[in-house]
């Protein structure tokens, strides 16, 4: 096993900073992220407001910091729910084989026949625009990637000698699956989850940018970019900084995922939403 690469350490450090910012958002925000000062709308970056103010005079830095919380929360909830559900479904399908496997994999194929973002747009369009519905839509689509990964691994592993040995010793099937096979899924799933988190954060921002996600006054980075669109000619700072926050977050997670993949030596598909 190789040691962690510089890139991976850098990614891990970026992610750690984001987690600290999200956790400590209440203490480090310089202003209330929803407090409006209409007289100072669209004010450029300055000494009092380091990144400037938006169309309602709200502090952009404060909104980006509180947006960190939104992004990480959406990313985390989406990844945990999709991973647990997807891995369970995929593992059972792969282990059981037969018609169960057939039904599950056909369902996965159908969902994967749509570009992920398009399906998310369609689902949020019918469910109604809100952060909660974004998470629901992303989970409804996101489990497929983990299911496919888990199934593939289980199918590969279930014929191995140690499974045969356990079976010969009379270990019940369910116990073989849960105690002997599922732990081996942890590594590839962890790598996939790192990329999945980046993808979910971008997906949330995309939907919020299209007006289908976070609603005012919630400070989502995507919604901030949507607000900034109307003022790109006169107040580009509305656009520049929230986008940088997304870029840093996604780069951090991708660096970390790349590093983990090389270090743990797993091959995994990425870019589910792109």
């Amino acid at each position: 096993m190789k040691g962690p690469s510089l890139r991976m350490m850098f990614g891990a450090a970026l992610v750690a900073v984001l987690v600290v910012v999200a956790a400590g958002a209440d203490w480090i925000v310089p202003y209330d992220p929803t407090a409006q000062v209409l007289a100072e709308n669209l004010a450029p970056p300055g000494a009092d407001h380091l990144l400037g103010q938006d169309k309602l005079g709200r502090d952009i830095l404060a909104r980006i910091i509180s947006g960190t919380r939104v992004s990480l929360a959406v990313g985390l909830v989406t990844v945990v729910v999709s991973l647990v559900a997807g891995a369970a479904i995929g593992a059972v399908a792969g282990f059981a084989g037969g018609w169960i496997d057939e039904i599950v994999m056909r369902a996965v194929d159908v969902l994967l026949a749509f570009p992920g973002l398009l399906l998310a747009i369609a689902l949020t369009a019918v469910l109604g625009p809100s952060l909660r519905n974004v998470v629901i839509a992303l989970c409804l689509i996101g489990w497929t990637g983990y299911a496919r990964l888990a199934r593939g691994e289980i199918v590969r592993l279930r014929e191995r000698e140690f499974v045969e040995a356990a079976r010969a010793l009379g270990v019940p099937e369910l116990r073989i699956l849960v105690r002997h096979l599922v732990p081996l899924l942890a590594t590839p799933l962890l790598v996939q989850a790192t990329f999945g988190m980046a993808a979910a954060i971008v997906a949330e921002a995309s939907l919020s940018f299209l007006g289908l996600g976070a609603q005012p006054p919630t400070s989502s980075w995507g919604a901030m970019l949507n607000d900034g669109r109307a003022f790109v000619l006169v107040a580009p700072h509305l656009t520049v900084f929230p986008g940088l926050a997304i870029l840093v977050t996604v780069l951090g997670l991708n660096f970390l995922g790349d590093g983990l993949r090389d270090r743990l030596d797993v091959r995994t598909p990425t870019d589910l939403w792109r």
Partner: protein, 312 residues
């Protein structure tokens, strides 16, 4: 070759049917009564009944489904609730703009990725190689809804080289196509580099070198051609992302295509148009994947035979 193509496209039919079913079910996912959602709860009951009949929601689900599938098969996707015109007409009017944008983005992605990936693989470990890896990482991490506005600020506002938005001349196409294509260029660069590197380690490359074939010719004639199969597959898979990405890119640049139509229809709760847009985009994606498989079969007859056998 033609048989393979026909066979592969026939295999898309079950997928297309499943996609149509999912799109049909969408409107039944609307929480509560879709008619209430579209008209608002204060609407007259006569209007509500009329809309319910127009959408066929008063009939049993199975009848609705059969009628929907018949409609899709014959190109009749219903009428827009807002414009009153057939959905198929609206789609046809917007399709050329989206095709133009998508093809331009695809061309930019390929034009950037193949030379960059090939050059990086030819000289591994050099600054060029590192640069291409960096480009690939940055390219997949930059969200298009930020890249687009940044390009507008730089090239349209500061430098005044290109128009801010809209469609018309070639100049209008540059920024949207680049915004849409960059992510794909990044993924393709990475794939090309990895795939060519793998091929350069093969025996036939050593044989060619032993015969005295030049480095450049080995790269372009031996390694690249064999390296293309995974690149074409990724191209097909990523085409879906490109299509979905048009929704965002068209929003940024006020590009009058399908993506913009979809978002407008969502905001106006014009569900027949929403269904039509999603169905058309999904169908294009399924077709693109089939096309990628056919191209692979042409590049490498062994893959073609496997595709014809295994299907999916």
């Amino acid at each position: 070759m033609l048989r393979l193509a026909l066979h592969r496209f026939a295999l898309t039919l079950p997928t297309m049917l499943a996609a149509a079913t999912l799109v049909f079910l969408l409107i039944h996912l609307v929480p509560g009564d879709p008619v209430d959602v579209m008209l608002g709860e204060s609407a007259q009951s006569a209007d509500r009944e009329a809309l319910r009949r127009t959408l066929g929601l008063d009939r049993p689900l199975a009848t609705q489904y059969a009628a929907f599938l018949r409609g899709v098969a014959s190109g009749d996707l219903g009428r827009s609730l807002v414009h009153g015109t057939p959905v198929a007409e609206l789609l046809a009017a917007r399709l050329p703009a989206t095709v133009e944008l998508t093809l331009a983005a695809l061309a930019i992605a390929i034009a950037l990725a193949l030379p960059l990936g090939l050059a990086a693989a030819a000289r591994p470990g050099t600054w060029l190689d590192r640069g291409s890896v960096g480009f690939a990482l940055l390219g997949v991490s930059v969200p298009s809804f930020w890249l687009g506005p940044m390009l507008i600020i730089l090239f349209a506002i500061d430098l005044r080289w290109l128009p801010v938005s809209g469609r018309g001349t070639w100049a209008h196409l540059v920024l949207p196509a680049f915004t849409l294509g960059l992510g794909m260029a990044a993924i393709l660069t990475r794939m090309t580099r990895a795939s060519v590197l793998e091929c350069l380690g093969e025996d036939y490359v050593r044989t060619a070198r032993a015969k005295g074939v030049s480095r450049a010719r080995i790269l372009t004639h031996h390694a690249l051609r064999n390296a293309l199969a995974p690149v074409v597959t990724i191209l097909g898979l990523q085409f879906g992302a490109l299509l979905a990405g048009t929704v965002i890119t068209e929003t940024i640049f006020a590009w009058p295509g399908l993506g913009r139509l979809l978002i407008d229809a969502i905001n106006q709760r014009d569900y027949p148009v929403v269904q039509g847009c999603i169905l058309l985009i999904a169908a294009s994606f399924v077709a693109a994947n089939a096309l990628a498989d056919v191209i692979n079969g042409w590049l490498d007859p062994r893959i073609g035979a496997a595709t014809a056998r295994a299907g999916s």
